[in-house]
């Protein structure tokens, strides 16, 4: 599903305090079936950008469109409900939203709200449970009795069970052990590839960006400073310096080697595999 931002502004108001524009005139276009990373320093407005996508934060000016639905500052209830069905949103620390008596009921909560039938729901629960890598014996347990990683998976299952066309995730790996994080991200990538969904992932880790994402969107002070392919961005060292973003580990190593040997690699290596191949190739010379 295609997503468009047309000169979107947004802020938060709390009593007398009105924050300045946390989203400051953003225009952008996310094509169908893309997997986009959103990176940027803390407070850059990444989470706010995601909230605009399903009307949890309404623009003060401009429009956000998801497919043929458009959200503007009036945010009609009917549109918002449709948009929320379309856009599945996994918040930061999504396990904080778990509440039901059993895991099964919790995963079924979203589909039930969005009006799926009983048979569909049973099937969706089973399917999404498998997708997040859990086994059915967890279904009758209380979500509060699970480990942190299991809770996270149940919470994500509760979102993907609603069959969203667009999946947005706010740092889904935060606070997990490295292995658990990789498993969840790999699972999201597989899900993306098999369901032709559009995925947007907020992350602080450049290694995740190069491993799992096609495109990258850098934010700074409520604005998008660049939006391009991952390889395009990391091939351009000047751009990286200008944006002040970090390097993925393999590329950092490549730059170190280049500095020490004076030999410049023919292209950037974004993954361990690429770096290894490049080094082996160099060894033959």
């Amino acid at each position: 599903m295609q997503i468009n931002f047309n000169r979107v502004y947004a802020d938060y108001q709390l009593g007398p305090i009105r924050s300045k524009n946390v989203v400051d005139g953003i225009s952008l276009e996310l094509a169908k079936n893309t997997f986009t990373a959103v990176v940027g320093h803390t407070g850059a407005g990444k989470s706010s950008l995601l909230k605009l996508l399903n009307g949890l934060l309404l623009p003060t000016d401009g429009e956000v469109s998801v497919g043929d639905l458009t959200i503007d500052k009036n945010g009609k209830k009917k549109t918002l409900n449709k948009v929320r069905k379309r856009v599945g949103m996994v918040f930061q620390f999504p396990e904080r939203q778990l509440f039901a008596e059993t895991v099964e009921q919790d995963i079924a909560f979203g589909p039930k709200n969005f009006g799926f039938s009983k048979e569909e729901i049973t099937q969706l629960v089973d399917q999404s449970l498998k997708q997040v890598g859990l086994t059915p014996d967890i279904l009758p347990k209380s979500p509060f009795s699970l480990s942190g990683g299991q809770k996270r998976r149940v919470a994500i299952a509760g979102i993907i069970a609603t069959k969203p066309d667009v999946l947005v995730l706010d740092e889904p790996g935060a606070g997990l052990d490295p292995e658990g994080k990789q498993e969840i991200l790999a699972m999201l990538r597989t899900l993306h590839d098999t369901h032709d969904s559009t995925t947007i992932l907020v992350t602080h880790d450049m290694n995740d960006v190069v491993t799992y994402c096609d495109n990258v969107l850098v934010m700074e002070k409520g604005q998008v400073t660049t939006h391009q392919t991952v390889r395009g961005l990391f091939s351009n060292q000047n751009e990286i310096d200008r944006l002040g973003i970090g390097l993925p580990e393999p590329l950092r190593l490549q730059r170190l080697i280049e500095e020490h040997t004076g030999r410049v690699f023919p292209h950037v290596c974004l993954t361990q595999q690429e770096l290894k191949d490049q080094l082996l190739e160099g060894a033959h010379l």
Binding site: Q13, L14, G15, P16, I17, K51, N54, L56, K77, N81, R84, K85, V87, G88, M89, F91, P94, R96, Q97, L98, F99, A100, F109, G110, K112, N113, F114, F144, G158, I159, T162
Partner: protein, 267 residues
Amino acid sequence: MKSLILGRYFPNDSIIHRLDARAKLVAALYFIGLLFFIDHGLGYLFVGLFTLGVMYLTKIRLSVFIKGVRPLIFLILFAAMMRVLFTGGGEVFVSWGPFTISSQGLWVGLFTFMRFILIIFISTVLTLSTKPVDLTDAINALLKPLRKLGVPVDDFALMLSISLRFIPNLLDETQRVMDAQRARGVIFGEGTIVEQMKKLVPIVLPLFASSLNRAEEMADVMDVKNYQSGEKRTHFRQLTWHTSDSIALLMMVGLTAVVIVVNYTMV
């Protein structure tokens, strides 16, 4: 949620913000007490104007205060209505069984309404302009005499300051959980009362869970830091009394004089 401002602190630089917390607390409590002794419209007009003046001095927009009253307005109207219906005297306009609408009743209803609004306004001024920690210190200072009677004043103040400290967190957390459940298709503020009550479960349970967790962590941390109740301790922050604080209290005395004069001369 956004309109719930009673109990929130908004940092700002104003005369009212700079007043000593003890002066503000005493003055606010005294003012609320005074409201119950006014029995003439002119008296209400006067304290009403005084309240507006104080609100103006906080440099916070009037609309903010009005929004703060809005969630409670039906409760207030209900209370005022009851007073109208159950008070007789003066000219009687409508009479129906035990209920009457009389001139006296209308006045009493209006006074009740005014009293509630002014209490909310003045408490909002107090919490809006005073850091919760300062407020707790003020309560601690004012309760000090009770310590002689063996009341654990310090523990009480600590409990209060911890609770106050977590009100904003709880509000933020509520907002977050509501957002998360909205994203899962919950539509708040729609459906029958029973349906709406049911929708509270997915908010309240996660909040309970996180609050209990936090309380447990808090207790552990206090144990680890060897907190002992009933120990004598000194204060890191010191409240300081200025001339403006004395003036604030003198104004309360002045207000009392006006109320007394109005009550006795206008009959």
